[in-house]
Symmetry: C2
Subunit: 395 residues, 2 copies
């Protein structure tokens, strides 16, 4: 109505109003609420909030909602203070991303009306660039030592190949995957089913803090929100959509990890599974996946080979996709620090560029997504761009 | 020449001459020799032996053989005594089967010119009927306790579902599969890479003897022949061709079991693999198979479901394929012994039919292939044939 539809999701948020409205809506709708997503798409965040917080009249114009449902939304909407949420997240070094933002991972648009309303983020790296070259490693909380070993090995091996490891910060496989990536000085993203300022599970307070420092912590729920069963389930669709593929390491029948894997499948992402003994109940869900569409993988190179073969998300290994002079100054400094030949370790790059170690590492993974650099073992090197004209040019 | 081509493989051997010639040729050509197979197809066994044992002149008419090769064949052919071989095998209760024989497993014809020249067989059951409902379970000799457990469980589980378990009588997975089937009073076939009277490996003398008593021992090599590396490799194609599918339980890269699996694939049979820990070298070959065409299986029911779905080899579970009055008298007696409703154990059937226990069991598996009976746990029951006309008939 009255022109506010033009403020819908397709256009970049040109003002603080839209951002505030989206931040508010992350407290009104549960993650993955497709009805809410449709209203948002049809009328934009500002108009939607106006209808939810206005008198009884306008709210009735929200089509398809039951009176009870609507009353719940209106109750929630009446209590929000998005300005304070934004300030709280800013105070812990975080930010709130909206569709249309430069850093918005556009692959989330594949979720349609179930796309997150916005993303609360902690950590300095660029989420869009990191997500372009990311793989999810998920699995059972109560995993076996074998499962933990495989998750850690995959986390480390993917990190060493320049891939960003995405998981859910849960006990068991998730934690092992994050830790494997961190131990290899790699990039990792934790997608939480609660606010980015809530350490859940509590035993992972330190791990989540470390990921927020060296990597990214992401949530679609507003600060201080607590996890629920359905929030865990809906969180899995974000992990699936954000990444190029999902590897399941140990999962029982009907486990949450299989939900992630099936979401990935529906979204056209690669779904992979690590086999285990046929006698292990903790592998039975994985085996079921592998008897269907899933691809069996036994190490990080097989995962990288598979997800690296998709060319639709980012032109990987084909040289830069962005002119060098369009990089921001910090990224450009990190890039300039690398030698013309051979590799350089992160501390050496940081010294040469005059940047912090974590920031340098984050930038290197961003530059990797952009095709400027690649990781080799513990060092980074410039990607050599083939120059076809040199071949044909006269001597 | 001179009409002997009409005695070729397609027609049943109408005389002792052809059988003697084929028996002799199993000593002349190595298993899977396609050149020899082509000569055999083109001129029939009698004429082929005539040319190999005649003067220098006619043998030269064997097209495409080097002089050295031909000399080797002629040397072998000159020393054979097929009558004695047939007598030797007969003395240990065995027989020699030729293409065209009623008991010949016609699915071996899929091997083309690499089809066995004939098969030396020990054991009373009907090879053709047993092979119609058979599955191969193969794998590493030096398997882990996990591999041995899985092979034994598959052997027993397949036997309990009325499937005949085929393997190679080797140490490790093969032996566990045979033993699993035998322990479940099931049917099992050992395909050897040596003569059926040679116990190889020596440590399996008792096992092979037991299979010859309760099941079938099969070889394309003549009595007393010893195994060689290439004979093991070529034996695998017989296992693959004889069965509806091959399950690999633990196999390293480049192992013989993978050769069997790939033969099965080429022949259009199902290839299956049992997963194991990704950290186990003994599962790496299986995982490679499962990353390709192989289907992951974790128990006998999954195997049975897969191989049972092929309808091209035998019309299973659809009632008898042969009129009851065309059964031989022993089979008919065994069939008559079964109750109209419910199951009966093998000893009870044997008592009622007046047949020996092993013979009874063998006949029941034959009757299973023919669709008359089915196994349920430790008992056998008549297959209830639907009578469509009863439904439509007036009351």
């Amino acid at each position: 109505m009255n022109g506010s539809a033009a403020e819908g999701e397709g256009s970049p948020p040109d003002g603080h109003r839209e951002r505030l409205a989206r931040a508010a809506l992350t407290r009104v709708f549960e993650p993955g609420d497709e009805r809410g997503g449709r209203w948002l798409r049809e009328m934009g965040p500002v108009e939607l909030m106006r209808r939810l917080t206005g008198g009884d009249g306008p709210a009735q114009r929200l089509e398809g909602a039951s009176a009870t449902r609507l009353a719940g939304c209106r109750l929630r909407a009446s209590g929000v203070d998005p300005g304070r949420d934004l300030a709280d997240v800013s105070a812990i070094g975080g930010r709130f991303l909206c569709p249309g933002d430069r850093e918005w991972p556009t692959q989330l648009d594949d979720l349609g009306d179930a796309r997150p309303i916005g993303l609360w983020v902690r950590g300095t790296p660029d989420l869009r660039l990191w997500a372009l070259r990311s793989v999810a490693v998920v699995g059972a909380r109560a995993c076996t030592p074998y499962g933990a070993h495989m998750a850690a090995a995959l986390g480390a091996g993917l990190a060493e190949r320049g891939w960003v490891v995405v998981s859910g910060a849960a006990f068991g496989v998730d934690a092992a995957a994050h830790r494997g990536a961190l131990a290899a000085d790699g990039a990792t993203i934790a997608v939480l089913a609660c606010g980015v300022d809530v350490a859940y599970p509590r035993g992972h307070t330190e791990l989540i803090g470390r990921i927020a420092e060296q990597g990214l912590v992401v949530a679609e729920l507003a600060p201080s929100a607590h996890p629920t069963r359905s929030r865990f389930v809906m969180r899995n669709r974000v992990i699936a959509a954000l990444t190029r593929g999902t590897v399941v390491v140990e999962a029982e029948y009907r486990s949450g990890s299989l939900v992630t894997a099936r979401s990935a499948q529906r979204l056209g992402r690669h779904t992979m599974g690590v086999p285990g003994p046929a006698t292990s109940g903790l592998s039975s869900g994985v085996h079921e996946l592998l008897r269907g569409e899933g691809t069996l993988v036994t190490d990080a190179s097989e995962v990288a080979e598979l997800v690296g073969s998709i060319g639709d998300l980012a032109p990987v290994r084909r040289g830069p996709v962005l002119p060098r002079d369009r990089l921001d100054t910090v990224a450009a400094r990190v890039l300039d620090a690398l030698p013309r030949r051979g590799t350089m370790s992160v501390p050496d790059v940081a010294r040469a560029a005059g940047t912090g170690a974590d920031e340098t590492q984050g930038r290197l993974y961003e530059l990797h997504s952009l095709g400027f650099v690649e990781r080799e073992g513990n060092g980074w090197r410039l990607v050599v761009t083939p120059r076809p004209e040199a071949h044909d040019a006269p001597p």
